[in-house]
Protein backbone atom coordinates (compact mmCIF):
# COMPACT_ATOMS: atom_id res chain seq x y z
CA UNK A 1 0.00 0.00 0.00
CA UNK A 2 2.60 2.56 -1.03
CA UNK A 3 -0.29 4.25 -2.84
CA UNK A 4 -1.19 6.03 0.41
CA UNK A 5 2.22 7.71 0.59
CA UNK A 6 1.87 8.55 -3.10
CA UNK A 7 -1.50 10.22 -2.41
CA UNK A 8 0.01 12.12 0.52
CA UNK A 9 2.74 13.44 -1.80
CA UNK A 10 0.12 14.47 -4.37
CA UNK A 11 -1.86 16.37 -1.71
CA UNK A 12 1.33 18.09 -0.58
CA UNK A 13 2.29 19.18 -4.10
CA UNK A 14 -1.26 20.31 -4.96
CA UNK A 15 -1.76 22.33 -1.78
CA UNK A 16 1.63 24.02 -2.14
CA UNK A 17 0.86 25.00 -5.73
CA UNK A 18 -2.67 26.15 -4.92
CA UNK A 19 -1.46 28.31 -2.04
CA UNK A 20 1.25 29.80 -4.25
CA UNK A 21 -1.54 30.81 -6.65
CA UNK A 22 -3.43 32.41 -3.70
CA UNK A 23 -6.30 29.98 -4.18
CA UNK A 24 -8.45 28.51 -1.46
CA UNK A 25 -10.14 25.72 -3.38
CA UNK A 26 -8.82 23.10 -5.80
CA UNK A 27 -11.58 22.32 -8.28
CA UNK A 28 -9.72 19.90 -10.49
CA UNK A 29 -6.47 17.96 -10.47
CA UNK A 30 -4.94 16.31 -13.52
CA UNK A 31 -2.52 13.43 -13.01
CA UNK A 32 -0.28 11.55 -15.46
CA UNK A 33 0.02 7.93 -14.38
CA UNK A 34 1.77 5.47 -16.66
CA UNK A 35 0.53 1.91 -16.88
CA UNK A 36 3.95 0.72 -15.65
CA UNK A 37 4.47 3.33 -12.94
CA UNK A 38 3.95 0.75 -10.20
CA UNK A 39 0.64 2.28 -9.16
CA UNK A 40 -2.40 0.08 -8.69
CA UNK A 41 -5.32 2.34 -9.64
CA UNK A 42 -7.84 0.66 -7.31
CA UNK A 43 -5.46 1.09 -4.38
CA UNK A 44 -4.83 4.72 -5.36
CA UNK A 45 -8.57 5.48 -5.52
CA UNK A 46 -9.12 3.76 -2.20
CA UNK A 47 -6.31 5.71 -0.51
CA UNK A 48 -7.50 8.92 -2.19
CA UNK A 49 -10.99 8.77 -0.69
CA UNK A 50 -9.73 8.80 2.85
CA UNK A 51 -6.62 10.94 2.46
CA UNK A 52 -8.12 14.01 0.76
CA UNK A 53 -10.66 14.60 3.53
CA UNK A 54 -10.20 18.03 5.10
CA UNK A 55 -7.56 19.00 2.54
CA UNK A 56 -7.88 21.43 -0.36
CA UNK A 57 -8.41 18.42 -2.60
CA UNK A 58 -11.59 17.36 -0.85
CA UNK A 59 -14.26 17.79 -3.49
CA UNK A 60 -11.76 18.23 -6.33
CA UNK A 61 -12.39 16.35 -9.53
CA UNK A 62 -9.54 13.92 -10.24
CA UNK A 63 -8.62 13.41 -13.89
CA UNK A 64 -6.13 10.68 -14.63
CA UNK A 65 -4.30 10.39 -17.95
CA UNK A 66 -3.27 6.76 -18.18
CA UNK A 67 -0.15 6.69 -20.32
CA UNK A 68 0.21 3.42 -22.17
CA UNK A 69 3.66 1.87 -21.92
CA UNK A 70 5.92 1.65 -24.97
CA UNK A 71 9.28 -0.01 -25.40
CA UNK A 72 12.16 -0.01 -27.83
CA UNK A 73 13.86 -3.30 -28.73
CA UNK A 74 17.61 -2.91 -28.42
CA UNK A 75 18.10 -5.95 -30.63
CA UNK A 76 16.01 -5.11 -33.70
CA UNK A 77 15.09 -1.44 -33.15
CA UNK A 78 11.32 -2.07 -33.17
CA UNK A 79 9.04 0.18 -31.14
CA UNK A 80 5.86 -1.27 -29.69
CA UNK A 81 3.29 -1.17 -26.88
CA UNK A 82 3.95 -3.35 -23.84
CA UNK A 83 1.94 -4.28 -20.79
CA UNK A 84 4.55 -6.04 -18.71
CA UNK A 85 8.29 -5.89 -18.20
CA UNK A 86 8.68 -9.46 -19.42
CA UNK A 87 6.85 -8.95 -22.71
CA UNK A 88 8.92 -10.09 -25.67
CA UNK A 89 9.58 -7.96 -28.73
CA UNK A 90 6.75 -8.80 -31.19
CA UNK A 91 9.19 -8.58 -34.12
CA UNK A 92 12.22 -10.61 -33.00
CA UNK A 93 11.01 -12.27 -29.80
CA UNK A 94 13.88 -10.95 -27.66
CA UNK A 95 13.58 -9.44 -24.19
CA UNK A 96 16.19 -6.71 -24.60
CA UNK A 97 13.78 -3.87 -24.02
CA UNK A 98 14.20 -0.27 -23.11
CA UNK A 99 11.08 1.37 -21.67
CA UNK A 100 10.26 4.57 -23.57
CA UNK A 101 7.13 5.62 -21.71
CA UNK A 102 4.61 4.34 -19.18
CA UNK A 103 6.53 5.02 -15.97
CA UNK A 104 5.13 8.55 -15.53
CA UNK A 105 3.78 9.57 -12.16
CA UNK A 106 3.18 13.27 -11.90
CA UNK A 107 0.82 16.08 -11.06
CA UNK A 108 0.19 17.73 -14.42
CA UNK A 109 -2.11 20.61 -13.63
CA UNK A 110 -4.70 22.06 -11.25
CA UNK A 111 -7.77 24.19 -11.64
CA UNK A 112 -8.01 26.40 -8.57
CA UNK A 113 -10.23 29.21 -7.39
Amino acid sequence: MHELSIVMSIINIAEQQARAAHATVIDEIELDIGTMSGIEMDALDFAWTGAVKQTMLEGAEKKVNRIAAKAHCIDCDAEFAIEKYYDACPVCGEHLLYILQGKELKVKSLVVS
Binding site: S9, N12, M56, Y85, Y86, S113
Partner: protein, 271 residues
Protein backbone atom coordinates in the same frame (compact mmCIF):
# COMPACT_ATOMS: atom_id res chain seq x y z
CA UNK B 1 11.60 20.64 14.84
CA UNK B 2 14.26 19.10 12.65
CA UNK B 3 16.69 21.68 11.33
CA UNK B 4 17.57 19.59 8.28
CA UNK B 5 14.23 19.15 6.66
CA UNK B 6 11.81 21.09 8.83
CA UNK B 7 9.83 18.04 9.87
CA UNK B 8 7.92 18.34 13.11
CA UNK B 9 7.67 15.93 16.01
CA UNK B 10 5.06 13.21 16.49
CA UNK B 11 5.66 10.56 13.82
CA UNK B 12 5.46 6.80 14.24
CA UNK B 13 8.85 6.29 12.59
CA UNK B 14 11.62 5.74 15.11
CA UNK B 15 15.40 5.66 14.75
CA UNK B 16 17.55 3.76 17.16
CA UNK B 17 21.32 3.67 17.01
CA UNK B 18 22.25 0.39 18.63
CA UNK B 19 24.95 0.85 21.30
CA UNK B 20 26.33 -1.12 24.18
CA UNK B 21 24.21 0.35 26.95
CA UNK B 22 21.23 0.54 24.71
CA UNK B 23 19.49 2.73 27.24
CA UNK B 24 19.02 5.94 25.37
CA UNK B 25 17.14 5.46 22.16
CA UNK B 26 18.01 7.90 19.46
CA UNK B 27 14.36 8.03 18.78
CA UNK B 28 13.70 10.90 16.47
CA UNK B 29 9.98 11.32 16.43
CA UNK B 30 8.74 13.53 13.68
CA UNK B 31 5.70 13.84 11.49
CA UNK B 32 5.81 14.30 7.79
CA UNK B 33 4.24 17.59 8.47
CA UNK B 34 4.41 19.60 5.34
CA UNK B 35 3.76 22.91 6.90
CA UNK B 36 0.04 23.01 6.42
CA UNK B 37 -2.90 22.34 8.65
CA UNK B 38 -5.58 20.05 7.39
CA UNK B 39 -8.36 22.05 8.93
CA UNK B 40 -7.72 25.28 7.12
CA UNK B 41 -10.79 27.40 7.15
CA UNK B 42 -11.80 27.67 3.51
CA UNK B 43 -15.47 27.65 2.83
CA UNK B 44 -16.88 25.85 -0.16
CA UNK B 45 -20.00 28.03 0.01
CA UNK B 46 -18.07 31.23 -0.37
CA UNK B 47 -20.53 33.84 -1.60
CA UNK B 48 -17.98 35.55 -3.88
CA UNK B 49 -16.05 32.77 -5.56
CA UNK B 50 -12.62 33.55 -6.97
CA UNK B 51 -12.26 33.13 -10.71
CA UNK B 52 -10.98 29.72 -11.73
CA UNK B 53 -7.33 29.56 -12.67
CA UNK B 54 -5.36 26.76 -14.31
CA UNK B 55 -2.02 26.02 -12.67
CA UNK B 56 0.53 24.04 -14.71
CA UNK B 57 2.31 21.89 -12.18
CA UNK B 58 4.22 19.22 -14.15
CA UNK B 59 5.80 17.91 -10.97
CA UNK B 60 6.87 14.34 -10.36
CA UNK B 61 4.92 12.92 -7.42
CA UNK B 62 8.12 11.43 -6.02
CA UNK B 63 9.99 14.69 -6.51
CA UNK B 64 10.58 15.28 -2.79
CA UNK B 65 11.81 11.74 -2.23
CA UNK B 66 14.06 11.96 -5.29
CA UNK B 67 15.54 15.27 -4.15
CA UNK B 68 16.45 13.87 -0.75
CA UNK B 69 17.76 10.70 -2.40
CA UNK B 70 20.12 12.81 -4.51
CA UNK B 71 21.19 14.64 -1.39
CA UNK B 72 22.01 11.30 0.27
CA UNK B 73 23.83 10.23 -2.90
CA UNK B 74 25.96 13.38 -2.77
CA UNK B 75 26.88 12.65 0.84
CA UNK B 76 27.81 9.05 -0.05
CA UNK B 77 29.89 10.17 -3.04
CA UNK B 78 31.72 12.81 -1.04
CA UNK B 79 32.67 10.27 1.61
CA UNK B 80 33.23 7.47 -0.88
CA UNK B 81 30.61 5.32 0.81
CA UNK B 82 29.19 2.43 -1.21
CA UNK B 83 25.48 2.42 -0.31
CA UNK B 84 23.53 -0.71 -1.18
CA UNK B 85 19.76 -1.08 -0.88
CA UNK B 86 18.86 -4.69 -0.07
CA UNK B 87 15.30 -5.63 -0.99
CA UNK B 88 13.37 -8.90 -0.87
CA UNK B 89 10.36 -10.70 0.54
CA UNK B 90 10.43 -11.32 4.28
CA UNK B 91 12.43 -14.45 5.07
CA UNK B 92 14.73 -14.58 2.03
CA UNK B 93 17.78 -14.34 4.27
CA UNK B 94 18.83 -10.70 3.96
CA UNK B 95 19.97 -10.41 7.56
CA UNK B 96 21.76 -13.77 7.47
CA UNK B 97 23.60 -12.73 4.29
CA UNK B 98 24.65 -9.54 6.06
CA UNK B 99 25.78 -11.34 9.22
CA UNK B 100 27.88 -13.73 7.18
CA UNK B 101 29.35 -10.92 5.05
CA UNK B 102 30.17 -8.74 8.05
CA UNK B 103 31.96 -11.61 9.80
CA UNK B 104 33.82 -12.91 6.74
CA UNK B 105 35.03 -9.51 5.55
CA UNK B 106 35.87 -8.11 8.96
CA UNK B 107 39.19 -6.33 8.80
CA UNK B 108 39.06 -6.12 5.00
CA UNK B 109 36.27 -3.58 4.63
CA UNK B 110 34.61 -1.04 6.89
CA UNK B 111 30.83 -1.48 7.24
CA UNK B 112 27.75 0.25 8.62
CA UNK B 113 24.16 -1.00 8.47
CA UNK B 114 20.70 0.55 8.48
CA UNK B 115 17.96 -1.94 9.30
CA UNK B 116 14.36 -1.28 8.26
CA UNK B 117 11.44 -3.15 9.81
CA UNK B 118 7.95 -2.24 10.90
CA UNK B 119 8.63 -3.36 14.47
CA UNK B 120 11.40 -4.67 16.76
CA UNK B 121 15.14 -4.18 16.81
CA UNK B 122 15.83 -7.91 16.37
CA UNK B 123 17.75 -7.46 13.14
CA UNK B 124 19.82 -4.59 14.54
CA UNK B 125 20.67 -6.79 17.53
CA UNK B 126 21.95 -9.51 15.20
CA UNK B 127 24.06 -7.02 13.22
CA UNK B 128 25.36 -5.37 16.39
CA UNK B 129 26.52 -8.78 17.63
CA UNK B 130 28.96 -8.90 14.68
CA UNK B 131 30.58 -5.69 15.95
CA UNK B 132 29.13 -3.42 13.24
CA UNK B 133 27.55 0.01 13.73
CA UNK B 134 23.84 -0.24 13.05
CA UNK B 135 20.75 1.93 13.23
CA UNK B 136 17.31 0.35 13.35
CA UNK B 137 14.48 2.21 11.65
CA UNK B 138 11.01 1.11 12.73
CA UNK B 139 8.47 2.34 10.22
CA UNK B 140 5.43 1.53 12.38
CA UNK B 141 2.84 0.74 9.72
CA UNK B 142 5.06 1.87 6.83
CA UNK B 143 5.71 -0.65 4.06
CA UNK B 144 9.01 0.77 2.77
CA UNK B 145 11.96 2.99 3.63
CA UNK B 146 12.22 6.38 1.94
CA UNK B 147 15.13 8.75 1.39
CA UNK B 148 14.01 11.01 4.22
CA UNK B 149 14.31 8.14 6.73
CA UNK B 150 17.81 7.35 5.46
CA UNK B 151 18.83 10.98 5.91
CA UNK B 152 17.79 10.87 9.56
CA UNK B 153 19.26 7.41 10.20
CA UNK B 154 22.59 8.66 8.92
CA UNK B 155 22.67 11.54 11.40
CA UNK B 156 23.07 9.05 14.22
CA UNK B 157 25.02 6.39 12.37
CA UNK B 158 27.67 8.60 10.72
CA UNK B 159 29.17 5.92 8.47
CA UNK B 160 32.94 6.21 7.99
CA UNK B 161 34.66 7.32 4.83
CA UNK B 162 35.48 4.58 2.32
CA UNK B 163 32.97 2.22 3.96
CA UNK B 164 30.14 0.03 2.71
CA UNK B 165 26.67 0.96 3.92
CA UNK B 166 24.10 -1.81 3.75
CA UNK B 167 20.51 -0.60 3.91
CA UNK B 168 18.23 -3.55 4.63
CA UNK B 169 14.81 -2.45 3.44
CA UNK B 170 11.47 -3.57 4.89
CA UNK B 171 10.76 -7.12 3.66
CA UNK B 172 8.37 -6.41 0.80
CA UNK B 173 8.83 -7.02 -2.92
CA UNK B 174 6.37 -4.32 -3.99
CA UNK B 175 6.49 -0.92 -2.33
CA UNK B 176 10.25 -0.34 -1.83
CA UNK B 177 10.69 -0.54 -5.63
CA UNK B 178 9.39 3.00 -6.09
CA UNK B 179 11.56 4.76 -3.54
CA UNK B 180 15.09 5.78 -4.41
CA UNK B 181 17.14 6.02 -1.20
CA UNK B 182 20.26 7.42 -2.84
CA UNK B 183 21.88 3.99 -3.12
CA UNK B 184 24.56 3.10 -5.67
CA UNK B 185 23.17 -0.36 -6.33
CA UNK B 186 19.93 -2.13 -5.55
CA UNK B 187 20.30 -5.78 -4.63
CA UNK B 188 17.23 -8.01 -4.79
CA UNK B 189 17.46 -11.27 -2.85
CA UNK B 190 15.34 -14.32 -3.56
CA UNK B 191 15.61 -17.69 -1.85
CA UNK B 192 15.02 -21.11 -3.39
CA UNK B 193 12.16 -21.77 -0.99
CA UNK B 194 10.17 -19.14 -2.89
CA UNK B 195 8.57 -19.62 -6.31
CA UNK B 196 10.76 -19.49 -9.41
CA UNK B 197 8.16 -17.22 -11.05
CA UNK B 198 8.73 -14.44 -8.50
CA UNK B 199 10.52 -12.13 -10.96
CA UNK B 200 7.41 -12.27 -13.16
CA UNK B 201 5.03 -11.72 -10.25
CA UNK B 202 6.96 -8.76 -8.84
CA UNK B 203 8.63 -7.32 -11.93
CA UNK B 204 9.08 -3.75 -10.66
CA UNK B 205 11.59 -4.82 -8.05
CA UNK B 206 13.59 -7.00 -10.42
CA UNK B 207 13.48 -4.32 -13.08
CA UNK B 208 14.84 -1.65 -10.76
CA UNK B 209 17.62 -3.81 -9.26
CA UNK B 210 21.16 -4.23 -10.54
CA UNK B 211 22.06 -7.48 -8.80
CA UNK B 212 19.98 -10.51 -7.90
CA UNK B 213 21.29 -12.81 -5.17
CA UNK B 214 19.69 -16.27 -5.15
CA UNK B 215 20.05 -17.48 -1.57
CA UNK B 216 19.73 -20.84 0.22
CA UNK B 217 21.00 -22.87 -2.76
CA UNK B 218 22.03 -25.64 -0.34
CA UNK B 219 18.30 -26.44 -0.16
CA UNK B 220 17.95 -26.98 -3.94
CA UNK B 221 17.79 -30.80 -3.70
CA UNK B 222 14.77 -30.55 -1.41
CA UNK B 223 12.57 -27.99 -3.13
CA UNK B 224 10.84 -27.84 -6.51
CA UNK B 225 12.70 -24.68 -7.54
CA UNK B 226 14.09 -24.49 -11.07
CA UNK B 227 17.12 -22.24 -10.79
CA UNK B 228 17.56 -21.91 -14.55
CA UNK B 229 13.92 -20.87 -14.85
CA UNK B 230 14.20 -18.18 -12.19
CA UNK B 231 17.30 -16.81 -13.90
CA UNK B 232 15.56 -16.78 -17.28
CA UNK B 233 12.51 -15.08 -15.73
CA UNK B 234 14.66 -12.45 -14.03
CA UNK B 235 16.53 -11.76 -17.28
CA UNK B 236 13.23 -11.39 -19.15
CA UNK B 237 12.26 -8.61 -16.77
CA UNK B 238 15.71 -6.99 -16.66
CA UNK B 239 18.30 -8.11 -19.19
CA UNK B 240 21.05 -6.16 -17.40
CA UNK B 241 20.52 -7.88 -14.06
CA UNK B 242 23.60 -9.65 -12.69
CA UNK B 243 22.88 -12.89 -10.82
CA UNK B 244 24.88 -14.57 -8.05
CA UNK B 245 23.90 -17.87 -6.37
CA UNK B 246 24.84 -18.29 -2.72
CA UNK B 247 24.23 -20.29 0.41
CA UNK B 248 24.95 -18.60 3.70
CA UNK B 249 24.85 -22.01 5.40
CA UNK B 250 27.37 -23.87 3.23
CA UNK B 251 29.26 -20.77 2.11
CA UNK B 252 28.87 -21.73 -1.55
CA UNK B 253 28.98 -18.76 -3.91
CA UNK B 254 29.89 -16.25 -1.20
CA UNK B 255 33.30 -15.56 -2.74
CA UNK B 256 31.55 -14.37 -5.89
CA UNK B 257 29.32 -12.05 -3.81
CA UNK B 258 32.37 -10.68 -1.98
CA UNK B 259 34.13 -10.22 -5.31
CA UNK B 260 31.15 -8.25 -6.65
CA UNK B 261 31.11 -6.13 -3.50
CA UNK B 262 34.82 -5.32 -3.72
CA UNK B 263 34.53 -4.53 -7.42
CA UNK B 264 31.95 -1.85 -6.62
CA UNK B 265 34.05 -0.02 -4.08
CA UNK B 266 35.44 3.04 -5.73
CA UNK B 267 38.91 4.02 -4.81
CA UNK B 268 39.10 7.70 -3.93
CA UNK B 269 40.35 9.54 -6.97
CA UNK B 270 43.89 10.80 -6.68
CA UNK B 271 44.74 13.94 -8.56
Amino acid sequence: MCATCGCDSGSKTTYKLRDKDDEHTHSHPHVHNHGYTHDHPHDHDHPHPHPKTVVDVEQDVLHQNNLLAQRNRGYFDAKNILALNLVSSPGSGKTTLLERTLKDLKGQLEFAVIEGDQQTSNDADRIYATGTSVTQINTGKGCHLDSHMILHAMQGLKPKENSVLFIENVGNLVCPAMFDLGEKERVVIISVTEGDDKPLKYPDMFHSSTLCVINKIDLLPYVPFDIEKVKANAKKVNHQLEIIEVSCTSGQGLQEWYGWLKSKILQPETV
